[in-house]
Symmetry: C2
């Protein structure tokens, strides 16, 4: 790791990546390779002798780039964004450069303390109650992803109650979400040993905009209690995966409180927007929850991975997740004056992720972060208007943030009333495939109440109005093509 | 994310990190800051307006670097190494640059396929049986850390058996390790909902070099079965945390097989060395295990995090960890022709970690990787010889890899026979503190069978003979100082 050789190769890669960003919009957004393509191109075993970085970079360009789905392309509109930024990238570089293993305070005090500080900064930007902040009575931690955040809080909730009523009752614990809740909840429940038959994906309906209603939660709880089960954990969502709907936090928390149910609020995607005063109302009621998380790697420009989790009661986490092996004992930890993040998460080793969040907050500043998020919302509005201008399409669900859910109308399928919706689903599926196969843009789909639709999520850092307009043209052309041949 | 601005700032950070590596040996290895130091130096909230990267980098130098414990310093000998390399760093940069979210094949085919390929490459370098490789009947996956690897395999084992005998039996499942097993096992068991009273840290003794003996495992199993419990999972270790001892894999697997116990082999630290023919024997018997993991970020130069996990039966993992939400459905997954790594791990989102492992394998080549690992072992031998040349010290446990466990002899404490060991513990504790407080090197400690000792782990990428020799001088001087004043 000679520093001059590091410098030489490092500069080379910076140029490589800068060129990649310059050219990224020319690549097919969705990779067009076939399964197994890479094994045909690479040797069967690792080389015995070293290879120069120049050769390796050529291979990256020739063999890896074609197999990349370009999440950084300005024409990337699928799922939720994976938003990079210069600041996020530089923060990740610094983190890799220092390469510290920040399991406890002592292993690198800056890693822990900067995380304490930036989690408070971001918490204040979101106007989280003091009960979630270190400057109050709670605290924040950076996890990898929402699934980890949910798993940790679920384990905390589970052990809190099992330590009271006895471990043998684990099979009686019930976890609640809705049929719109992210699959991360189901997965976390599986891993935490919750009996799969005690996992409730409560049905939502169009009449309540596919939110989890207090009434349906109450009904589910009542049934479970009658059956001798124990309500444990509720995951409410701000910005659901399919249509970015928002569960009513206040009323849900009120019910949960009556049964001592731990409420986690998953705002993985939409939480970022809540730093803007005009969106803050979406997390009204958060004061009743026990934990709250958002993925800064989705729509807050930190690069993957950076899931920000705040909890009211860090001790519950620590009780469920701490181990205190001899080799990690040290004076600072014994003094209880410091945070040891190893006890706030699944893993022992942890990267210095706070750097990238710090760099993003400072490089943008609060004002520009708000404006950047608003620019994505504005572009989504633009797209929505374009859809509205073509009477073959409809908007499937109200747009809350920067995701537009739309579809070709059933009438366009040419099928009779009885089969119109099925026909529309098939048509929209075809349209999605045709759009993505073009490589010109990448969109994904959703399905709610039997309706298949296309999701157009604005949020890639490089996206500008012209990309949105061009994307819409492709959608129209592809539909023209399908209708012409059918 | 303008590409020219990216280039400008990227080059600036490369120079910053290159300078850091050039100067790293001048910094106190263990950070000397006091708890709370950083909050005093940083503003109370995020800036409203953007700040230039130049200002931020100044702050990194002035406020962050003093709070860093320098894991990349050539004088870093604590815990296990967190080994960086130019290749590992560049791979991480490329991964951040592409910033893809590789949850399934389609989301970036190259991310999945390169991981398949490099895990087979590395598996072959380790001479793992074909039953662990994609080219055979198993497969490998890159996780973040060992705790995740254990949690995933434990969940797989748990669900395999509970699906047969009923979920209500979860409280009867027993997990086995030894008192030398890493705390990751205990933590994984806690998270997976195993009753804490069914966690067995089987006692080891000096007579069997603190390995888990087949006899003691058998005895523990017998007791549990008599008590109506169900043996589930065994974690055997190659290179334990305290003294890098090696459990006898073959005999342990033989016993486990009789009871259908899932055996995971944790070779987090020492697994890397097994690419050298002379160390391969340490994983003899691996063919009887169900899963095997090593941390390439420890002693294989990939930077944190990169835990390589191989399993014989990927379907068991997939059954425990898969969810199939509508929004991720796609033709490639439906065809079953591809690997969707989301079902092999806890999280949905995943970074393109295979890039850094690929770059390390190619930039070094097998021959140089072996030689580099051997150079660390040789430096540990050198240190051991230095310790042996000073009759105030003793080696506490046989050295298997590049970790030397030593202590000041009880006789040096000046206390009588009855209190000699206690006195030695106190003396060695003082010595450790004195060494680390000097900032000249960083070592950590262990405790086995009541004996407190100092661990000297060679493995930082920049360490050379001269650093080892200088480190030993500091140890001697610090002991001189303590003995002179007592």
């Amino acid at each position: 790791m000679d520093s001059e050789e590091f410098r030489r190769q490092g500069h080379m890669i910076i140029d490589f990546i800068a060129d990649y960003y310059r050219d990224v919009e020319k690549y097919p957004v969705l990779s067009q390779v076939e399964p197994g393509y890479l094994r045909k191109r690479l040797p069967e075993s690792a080389p015995y002798n070293p290879e120069p970085i120049e050769t390796i970079l050529q291979d990256v360009q020739q063999h890896i780039v074609p197999g990349i789905t370009h999440w950084q392309s300005p024409y990337y509109f699928a799922y939720f964004p994976s938003s990079g930024s210069i600041a996020g990238f530089l923060g990740e570089m610094l983190s890799s450069g220092f390469n510290v293993v920040g399991f406890n305070w002592m292993s690198s005090p800056a890693a822990t303390e900067l995380e304490n500080i930036v989690m408070d900064w971001l918490g204040e930007m979101l106007k989280l109650p003091k009960s979630f902040l270190f400057s109050g009575t709670g605290g924040g931690v950076i996890q990898g992803t929402t699934c980890e955040a949910i798993l940790c809080t679920l384990a905390a909730a589970r052990d809190q109650i099992l330590n009271e009523i006895g471990r043998e009752n684990i099979s009686r614990l019930v976890v609640y979400g809705s049929d719109q809740t992210h699959s991360a909840l189901q997965k976390a429940a599986q891993i935490a040993g919750i009996d799969p038959k005690n996992f409730r994906a409560i049905k939502t309906t169009k009449s309540s905009s596919f939110t989890l209603t207090p009434e349906s939660l109450q009904a589910a709880i009542d049934l479970d209690i009658q059956a001798g089960l124990i309500p444990l954990f509720l995951c409410a969502t701000v910005g659901t995966t399919a249509i970015t709907t928002v569960d009513p936090l206040g009323p849900l928390c009120d019910i949960a409180k009556r049964y001592s149910i731990w409420v986690h609020v998953d705002a993985a995607y939409a939480g970022s927007a809540c730093i803007c005063p005009e969106f803050r109302h979406f997390i009204d009621g958060i004061e009743g929850a026990d934990s709250f998380s958002l993925n800064a790697h989705k729509w807050f420009f930190t690069t993957l991975d950076c899931c920000c989790l705040w909890v009211k009661n860090p001790n519950a986490l620590i009780k469920a997740l701490s181990t205190n092996p001899e080799f990690l004992r040290n004076k600072a930890s014994d003094s209880k004056q410091v945070v040891d993040y190893k006890d706030w998460q699944i893993t022992l080793s942890r990267r210095f992720r706070a750097l990238k969040l710090w760099l993003v907050l400072r490089s943008f500043g609060v004002a520009n972060l708000r404006n950047f998020l608003r620019s994505h919302v504005r572009m989504a509005q633009l797209f929505q208007e374009l859809v509205g201008g073509d009477n073959r399409f409809e908007i499937v669900a109200p747009r809350n943030f920067a995701v537009v859910c739309f579809r070709v109308l059933p009438s366009a399928s040419g099928l009779g009333d009885g089969k119109a919706n099925e026909g529309a689903n098939e048509l929209n599926r075809k349209l999605l495939e045709s759009i993505n196969a073009s490589g010109q843009l990448y969109v994904s789909h959703g399905m709610v109440a039997g309706i298949y639709f296309i999701r157009f999520a604005v949020g890639a850092t490089l996206t500008e109005d012209r990309h949105v307009i061009a994307a819409w043209k492709v959608v129209q052309e592809k539909l023209d093509g399908i209708l012409a041949t059918s």
